[in-house]
Symmetry: C2
Amino acid sequence: MSRVWNFSAGPAALPQAVLERAQREMLDWNGSGASVMEQSHRGKRFIEMAARTEEDLRSLLGIPADYAVLFLQGGATQQFAQIPMNLAGEGDSADYLVSGHWSAKAVGEASTYVRVNVAASSAADDYLKLPERSSWQLDPHAAYVHYTPNETIHGVEFHDIPDVGAVPLVADMSSNILSEPLDVSRFGLIYAGAQKNIGPSGLVVMIIRRDLLQRPGRPMARIFRYAEHAANDSMLNTPNTWGWYVAGLTFQWLHEQGGLAAMAERNRAKAALLYQAIDGSGGYYSNPIELGSRSRMNVRFSLYDGALDAAFVAESEAAGLIALKGHKALGGMRASLYNAVPLEAVQALTAFMQDFAQRHG
Amino acid sequence: MSRVWNFSAGPAALPQAVLERAQREMLDWNGSGASVMEQSHRGKRFIEMAARTEEDLRSLLGIPADYAVLFLQGGATQQFAQIPMNLAGEGDSADYLVSGHWSAKAVGEASTYVRVNVAASSAADDYLKLPERSSWQLDPHAAYVHYTPNETIHGVEFHDIPDVGAVPLVADMSSNILSEPLDVSRFGLIYAGAQKNIGPSGLVVMIIRRDLLQRPGRPMARIFRYAEHAANDSMLNTPNTWGWYVAGLTFQWLHEQGGLAAMAERNRAKAALLYQAIDGSGGYYSNPIELGSRSRMNVRFSLYDGALDAAFVAESEAAGLIALKGHKALGGMRASLYNAVPLEAVQALTAFMQDFAQRHG
């Protein structure tokens, strides 16, 4: 069939231009007579591409020189464990802000390696809003503060960067990295699974302040140590070469689109259009999130009558609007509006929603 | 340029038919209107493909039902650490057979998590032959015995499966899996980085006897626990979906080629042809490995005069024969002859070698 509008929460839509280029280059990449998948990661061609990809990310985000960029594996979930292994010493504690499914999961994976202090949580509010700032119990001696700026499942997002003083701020940006300009210098460590705003799954991009690489951390094999990955340009072992390549194509595409300021403008417009369609539906559709906590990336909505959910999913798919079914833990619908989802897709979705409401009114 | 003959040790050549199919399906996979990279791993299409891929691997290798198959990340190197985390308890020891670079590296990464007993080593022989069986000091109480059936860098290979009694045998088959039929029931755990005989890098395929999933192992986050991955069909977190897909295409290709008996025949013929060219060159080329320990997959050879190495590499590349330069630790040349390298490529290589010897005699 022809290409659909894909609202998947992840692995998510990729820019069509990126896919077309990967398709063209599949059998003969960069004049090598072989696929990029068939290149040694120690070869000149691959190393040049890898370095250019890092440079393109650095220029997109304005990453300062005292930060290392790593291309890792294992998904963000593995980093939930590896971060305390690397940043916490014996007996240390770390502060966690819990604002949804993923930040809660980060606590679970970390607790083998560090004493976790849940400094704030909105679990009692069903994660329908961010934890109130006045409630945060930050420890100035914490090894770090971990938070999740955007919660993919619950659809809540921090719209500014928390001030946590001198303690390094660690952010799981899997679902909002590269969606707008960012002041990287406010963070100690930023990490993101690639499969939402960067590229295919199986790749994690990390931005880490170099002084944090000096922390001894917990006893661990060399393969888990960020300092070793940094010292080896993320080629301590064979990296996910295909993921690195597609990430590079995406970064080039972002530059061609005008960079992150342009993406921020588009992303604001897309989210505004969809929230307007929901809020203006006279209650036919609704979003449960507190206004100031709404995510630009993952927009939840429910139909006034849950009995219509199956029809909504089936008819939207038939109309070429896919992956709108909400996460099984929450039900309802969810539209993910990452960089590769154009405004045109959201226009098609809101038109469909209006039509659906009229037909099933 | 046109496609070359690729002798890379890994990431290595893929079957051209696999690349062509991945190319065709790039923008519209399986009638979905989206790339396989853009599919949710929780979606029906992806889950069906993933299950079929596992079934194709099971039928290729005749994997018994009491073994789980896992699709993991982090490369074989991460498994060097994760295996003792999962299979060894507090205070346990494990036996390691050291026959080259990779088995030595496995010892290094394991030693944080288990007391390592190097039960045998051929380091004193510069890894030019396998450790003598009479020298092995196996411990019947070991948590497991680890070995590397084929050493990619040193070019030595075990041509039978060691008898280690009741202790589970653990094998890093990264560079020889699927190269011939295998009696999986002789093993406790088999693992392989995909980037040689399976697919792109960033994927690890593991075959583990289910009783070993019950071992408590060392304290670790859930993401590192094989039992959790098995219980969640390798979707405990987002897997490397592209790698899984390409692996599936390769498994289908192997079935189309006649399965592993046919591949074994081809691989024997390819290695025999190249070793004959080396041994029959009157000393112009030489392979240093003891005859009974020679690898079918990774064939090392030196020119009688190392001053000709640079010319050999440059002229072979110009002739469309790439990645023949040996590992930097050993120098000389190396040709990797994995499944996707056809006999025609080895014929082209041996013809080139003969021609080169005549011109630079």
